[in-house]
């Protein structure tokens, strides 16, 4: 099935996920053989529309697009008419007139990439929208886990931290569950909502979560910038309760668990420095895999078609039972 956009994980079918992961494997093999460019997207243009700061995702998309021989334009928010109050819609209409083929969007407003996708023939890739989704991060996480566990079914991933504000937690947990992985959340009660999916275990106590026997510990960045009120007393207390301290790292090492983190890391909050040197830390692998995943996504999408109309599992219903 050809897709114009990649907006979320929720609407991706398992076959599509497998296809993307397989394609990423092929790209990864290619680049270990000193080939650093393929002509797949020659003559195509990719527009990077980042309304929020980004290091990994932005550079990774840019590298991926260039390796596929696409032309990349970085939309300079600071020097655009956005500073004059131009709306996202006006920006997109302007950019649409420039006939770009792909728009990679990051925005603080949940759902905004979907709104853009409905207004343009370009393929829109959600590079993170508010606390909603970050599909390519989820794909690279799954790819990284599959490199260690080729058949991840039945494996357990414990996601620790600020679930409430995390698009990574939402996307990655959804994708891992589609691959048969068991997922649990751990964090302060104020940051791990009780109304999350029923299929995901919820822990607020570190020891109880470790007793669940995870195979992978996935640390989320504490997003101070999204917290409009205080969700926990101090970073020090957070580290003491939920961070990977030296003592906890020793236990993790002993049990042979993998550690992941989407970056950027708050050292001394989510983890202690020693985690970065832990041989089963996959944090660098995640960054590396980000490029091949994004290549696979760009290569897979088909600009110019109709926007995907994923069948929602809920939504408008006019049945008489109300």
């Amino acid at each position: 099935m050809a897709r114009k956009d990649l907006l979320d994980i929720a609407s991706l079918h398992r076959e599509e996920i497998e296809l993307l992961l397989d394609q990423s494997t092929s790209f990864k093999k290619l680049f270990t053989r000193s080939v650093n460019k393929v002509p797949a997207l020659g003559g195509k243009s990719v527009l990077m529309l980042f309304y929020e700061a980004s290091t990994r995702t932005h550079s990774s998309f840019e590298v991926a697009a260039k390796r596929l021989s696409a032309d990349v334009t970085n939309f300079d928010i600071a020097h655009s008419s956005i500073t004059k109050g131009e709306s996202v819609r006006e920006t997109v209409e302007t950019l649409q007139a420039m006939r770009t083929d792909y728009i990679v969007v990051r925005h603080g407003r949940s759902g905004l990439p979907g709104l853009i996708a409905r207004q343009t023939k370009a393929s829109v890739i959600n590079a993170g929208d508010g606390a909603h989704e970050h599909p390519t991060q989820a794909l690279l996480d799954a790819f990284t886990i599959k490199e260690k566990f080729p058949d991840p079914r039945g494996k357990k991933v414990l996601i620790i931290g600020d679930i409430l504000h995390s698009r990574v937690a939402r996307s990655t947990s959804t994708l891992l569950q589609k691959l048969g992985v068991e997922v649990a959340y751990l964090g302060p009660g104020s940051l791990v909502p009780k109304y999350g999916p029923a299929t995901i275990r919820r822990f607020t106590d570190y020891q109880a979560a470790m007793a669940w026997s995870p195979d992978v510990v996935y640390l989320l960045r504490v997003q101070m910038e999204r917290q409009d009120v205080q969700f926990f007393p101090s970073l020090r207390e957070y580290h003491r309760l939920y961070g990977i301290t030296n003592d906890r790292l020793a236990e993790i090492q002993q049990r042979g668990l993998y550690i992941m983190h989407p970056g950027p890391v708050n050292r001394g909050v989510e983890l202690c420095d020693a985690v970065m040197d832990y041989e089963r830390s996959l944090i660098t692998n995640q960054v590396e895999n980000g490029i091949v995943i994004r290549m696979a996504v760009l290569d897979w999408l088909t600009p110019g078609g109709d926007a995907p109309r994923a069948e929602p599992t809920f939504g408008r219903s006019y049945e008489r039972s109300c």
């Binding site: 819609r89 407003r109 949940s110 759902g111 909502p193 408008r316 006019y318």
Partner: protein, 425 residues
Amino acid sequence: MLLLQNARIASENSPVLLEADVLIVEGKIQDIGNNLAIPEGARVIDARGRILMPAMFDAHVHFRAPGFEAKETITTGSEAAINGGITGVVMMPNTRPAIDSAMVVATVLDNAKHRSRIPIYTSGCVTKDRQGKELAEIDGMRELGVKMLTDDGDTTNDPAVLLRAMQYATEFGMFFASHCEVPELAGPRALNEGVMSYRLGIKGSPACAEEIIIDRDIRLAHAAGAHVHIQHVSSKLGMETIRWWKSRGDVKVTAEVAPHHLLFTEEHIGNYDTNYKMNPPLRTQADCDALLEGLIEGVLDLIATDHAPHTPYEKAQDFISAPNGITGLDTALVSLYHYFVEPAKFGWDVVVKRYSAEPRRLMGLPVAAIEVGQKAECLLFDTEAETTFTREFMKSKSHNTPFLDQTLKGRVDLVILGTEILLER
């Protein structure tokens, strides 16, 4: 002179429809009976099978004038009301300038007199410019007929300010309508805190944000001996809070519910559909069920649409940026029939009582009824016909409604106000 033959007459007092002829002379109901003689010169309408009922009255509408005429005007808003079988409305004061002084009230009412075919009443602000700090000049507004005071759109956040306002204005026979939310809990987003807020990645507004203020404002009214009217109740516990206070019998409290809070849940938002973004937000099926129960029981005294028009451009924004609210005047009565009366969840008596009689009582107005000697203020409703809510059909200037292009059972065929036939299909 008008003779409606074989109409099925609805009233607030009984679910049973009385089949009879109704003779209207010079804007008054002169006779009701079977096989009435046709007076010379009378126009005869065959109303067989159709429901004749008192016209509706909406105690919570936003006509956006002055200040936001791109969304709605008094003319388009009042025509939308007529289109939906409504012959009286109460405007909310969150305009620009806000309706917070005798001068603005006079301007609005004068405007309404010339631009509306139905009577329009306006509420006035509790505080200047709805800022929640200084009391508005209440008596000046009262002199021009304002009865309802509200900072609707926002809560009067400082309880001391509201208490003083209640103590002051109750002496003038005015009452307070409360938009209930703790702003620190609700934040700027109109989405229930729950399954959907998690799924969509938007911070939700918990039901307790509304329930706390419902309780607070009734307590303040209790302390001040005031009458408080709770607007657009959306949660089960909110309804139960009102029920408990009413059961005490020592405070004057009334409450309203909007059709959308009876009909839709947070899940209807689906993929960020801003036509389901309103404040208070849509909640859960359990809340809908409780509100329906509360309406039938009378805990919720009246239905009011909270008609909130917005331009297509505004609603086409992302969910967080898009403004709150949906239109309701064109659609309310038909949707109540389609979803509740036709499936026998409640009868026409509930519709008449809650959407015609009680709103007028709230405003201290005579109740419209199909009775001899009463002013003719009624509508004819065809239960066999359907209504498709196209842009062309709706008279509101804005079309931000989930019912856009939907077809529902029932149709308003005729609206009469005194000697005027306001609408005839």
